[in-house]
Amino acid sequence: MASPLPGYHGCLLRIYLSTGVSEQVALDETLLRSTIGGSGLGVELLLREGAAETDPLSPDASIAFVFSPLVGSPLTTSAKFAVVSKSPLTGRINDSLASSGFALAGKKTGHDAIVLTGRAPRLSILVIDEGVVRLESAERYRGLSTRETERRLRENLGSEFQTATVGPAGERQVLFATISHDGRHAGRGGSGAVLGSKNIKAIAVRGTVRPHWAEPAALVELARKFSEKSFGPATAKYRELGTASNLLTFNRLHVLPTRNFQQGSFAGAEAISPEQISVARERTRSSCMACTIGCEHLYGLQNGTGSVRLEYENLFALGPLCGIDDPEVILAASRLCDDLGLDTISAGGTIAFAMECVERGLLDEPWLKFGDGASLLQSLDSIATGDGLGQLLAQGSRRMAHAIGHDSIDFAPQVKGLEIPGYDPRGLQTMALGFAVGSRGADHNRSGAYEVDFSTAVDRCNVGPESAHLAVETEDKAALMDSLILCKFLRGVFTDFFAESAEILRLVTGWDVTGNELRETAGRIVTNKKRFNIRAGWTPDEDTLPPRMLRQALPDDPRAALSKESLGGLIRAYNLARGWSADGWI
């Protein structure tokens, strides 16, 4: 029976993995309108599950795969879903988003979300065939790469099934393991470890149930206009060069994290830039399901073993951060992370941290050196196998620092346990604020505060508290995009983001929603994430940056300096702008 609520099915599917029992649970309109979908709905569901107070790797923990009202609509970039759980890496909220046919097929099972609890008795494939749920043995897939698991599942189940899988890293519960599908990853925060802890190697979904739209003709027309705009100059960078083209810009501005954030520029940057890599390698373009932007740029490996998606984040993390200037090594390392199911930012950050520990004599692993490609590849393998140093690396840089001691936490490149993406916060200080207060830790996808730094609104090396409201604005926009869900690379095509988002949602759902309502909704979603974290044990002292970054300027740009006091002023201004207490309590 069709849902009475356009854009939604009005229910979630809860699956008890320990028994294989499942049930449909109704989702009322008030809840859906106040949280929309994706991250917003997922965080609220997790709060109601009591997930904040639960060990994320225990059978009692919940993990939610959440769709949105826009999934399945003709709007470009809308084939997305959110994976929401408590992060085993940070102990705080984690919402990872990804695009693929899994979102389309998952929603067509007839549910707005799929919530898993319990633990399957043995390694299993969870098959959701419209309304029918079953667990199959995954023994024959044990240890397989994400790519090979997906290939065999399609072969065995049929190509109409869409899958989300964990690689060897997820099976071993590496704390920064990903969930992979179509070569894309719900990447950050270790959602792959949560799925692995539930003995689920993969989820396969298939269905035929489609919700209806409130105003289908007008929605198609609006979608056509957005698609047209998505071919315009606002997305030219992504389409023509890919995100990796950030590398030379960041290097020139001395904000390219190099050798575990010890420098902001890298001598080998030109050699590993996409402009240079593409000279000697075949380059092809691809796009996520239902996307007209096509930001993915794949580069052929010179040994002929295939091609690799190269994004700025894997380029920086497996390149300059580890001192690597050999493009072939970076491509091979990226491919390895894809296959093992590892978050490239956390993998690169943790290995770079270990390299500095070796350099400082804190870790007796002389083979592990900055600039040594073989040691990078060996480290990645060891993380997935658990051999040797891999046991420690698999815990991420914060736990590793606690194990090593000697104040190494001082230079562990993380916030709340999540490794810092490729933006040196000392030279991008609005982003520094975004990293420090981020609900899932240092994160460039939940706060787009770097946009403020890349503008005439602030001096990026001397940002004052007056910029806090600009950071709030970027975070609110991200929260809304992650709940609708739309790709952030589309943000440049909006003229009035909240008003146009309201129009999209009105045509899908029929609600008389306004831009102001969506602003309030976005703020509420951010506050809900904070609520989750407070229940999970958050305290104000974790909203900070690694101590070294608050003590030492970037050597290649002395203006790029932060202090505990200056960051504290930004954080207080941010908290007040959010309507929280000055130290961040809600």
């Binding site: 100059p233 606002a234 030219a236 960078k237 992504y238 023509e240 060069l241 890919g242 995100t243 990796a244 083209s245 950030n246 030379l248 810009t249 960041f250 020139r252 501005l253 001395h254 402009e275 994004e311 700025y312 984040e313 933006y423 460039h444 787009g448 770097y450 946009e451 890349f454 503008s455 005439t456 001096d459 990026r460 090396c461 952030k488 690379f489 440049g492 740009d557 203006r559």
Partner: protein, 87 residues
């Protein structure tokens, strides 16, 4: 005044060079000079004496500027880069 211009991302791709020189007393003059010499760059990045939406200029890697009347000194370095940093 002669200034050094460094180009990044789409600006570099359109101009076909990573670095060049240009003349002008202010940012608008320099952009007009570049537009005259690199038509594909003008088509994507420069409208008359201003930058098109989505692009920024930066002086010496330190200060982002967009105003055409921003004064320049002989030997200054102007970076032309895409506004959007995400990825």
């Amino acid at each position: 005044m002669q200034v050094v211009v460094e180009l990044f991302g789409i600006a570099r791709a359109r101009a076909g060079v990573g670095q060049t020189t240009a003349v002008g007393d202010c940012l608008g003059d320099v952009l007009a000079d570049l537009a005259a010499r690199f038509p594909p760059l003008a088509e994507s990045c420069i409208a008359g004496r201003t930058l098109r939406s989505g692009f920024l200029a930066n002086l010496g890697g330190k200060r982002f500027v967009t105003a055409p009347d921003t004064p320049l000194a002989d030997g200054d370095t102007v970076l032309l880069l895409p506004l959007d940093a995400g990825g």
